[in-house]
């Protein structure tokens, strides 16, 4: 089956920042992404868990599959949002089906 080189960007970010991140992505022309829920985690700011959380606390994972040449625009847009905030960004090489979608 024909596949095409792409990048898989995974951004783990605080839930109250989700809207700002996806707006920034959209503005940067990235219209494809998927948001996954996160149950808990640990990092420099300690351990947390969604269990029994009240309010909009917690984090989400945003996944973008993107053509390699558009990666830099995406990372610039994402970084502007996450810069002062906790969370992590990783970029992985991948292959996608149906390249016309990206």
């Amino acid at each position: 089956m024909q596949t095409h080189k792409a990048k898989r960007v995974e951004i783990i970010i605080e839930a109250p920042m989700e809207g700002r991140l996806t707006d920034a992505l959209t503005k940067a022309g990235v219209t494809g992404f998927t948001v996954l829920p996160v149950l808990g985690g640990s990092g420099r700011s300690g351990r947390w868990s969604r269990e029994g959380q009240v309010g909009r606390a917690g984090m989400v994972a945003v996944i973008c599959l993107i053509r390699p040449d558009r990666l830099d625009g995406l990372l610039d847009a994402a970084f502007a949002v996450v810069e002062r905030h906790i969370g992590v960004v990783s970029v992985t090489d991948t292959d996608v089906l149906r390249a016309e979608r990206f």
């Binding site: 920042m17 029994g52 309010g55």
Partner: protein, 327 residues
Amino acid sequence: MGDILSLAGDNLLSPMILCFALGLFAALARSELSVPEAAAKALSIYLLFAIGFKGGVAVADHGLDGTLIAALLGGVVLSFGIPFVAFALLQVLTGMSRLDAAAVAAHYGSISIVTFVTGTSVLTGRGLDPEGYMVAVAAAMEAPAIISALWLATRGSGGGASRMDAELWREILLNGSIVLLVGSFVIGLITGAEGMARIESFIVSPFQGVLCLFLLDMGLVAGRGLRQSRGALGAGAVVFGIVMPVIGAALGLGMGLLLGLSTGGVALFMTLAASASYIAVPAAMRVALPEANPSIYLTLSLGVTFPFNLTIGIPAYVAVAAALTGG
């Protein structure tokens, strides 16, 4: 005094407080008991809807008291002002950074809806029904403190404005609990006694039981927070978490008396001023002051001040309000 103690004793042994204690115990003992996030949120939607609706029906029944506007203004003034007191007190008692202190101050100027709901429930149980519009006052007190705190955080550096964008304003003013509380208040106001008759057996009779389960979850959340942030708070901060609600209550008392509210209204004003936010304000802080440490403000507000108000604060405020209003 004996009266306060007996009231406090009654309160401490109520199913609601004991449920909170059970949750606290379970979390500190690391039991895996937990209330699913969706269930906790559903319970809070129920409580907000019920309390807002009842407030609206009460206003529809008794007519709009001329003091509504005055009470709203009074609430806004307190919410704006308390952060300055809190900030000063934090600088005396703790070595917190300016940003952390400002973030904490925002929480204490704003209010805790669950503390408000519990206070209302205690008052109703004693026949001291507060003014129905107090739910509108509660809603009005959520946001102003955030402005004061951002000003405190950025004083000198002038970055306060840049931390608040239109988006954040919208998020704060239209946060879920404000919209639901005010919305159900308006619905109660419109539908009045007739609307109440239709849904009374849903929002009145099971109310205290639902509150029990919700407080069980609050105990779990507070206990987990305390466990996970062991050491985040120094002794000075803990003292702040107990002294500050008392100061807030005193300010609320003054305002309530000034406005000439009923005993229940005064007690609720004290409760609002004494309580610290742990839903709306933390979310706003994550956006506007991400450098401030969430374990400090969440632990203080949810782990220290909330239990204090729940167990000792509320009955004390009710007793003081009753004594001073002759209620």
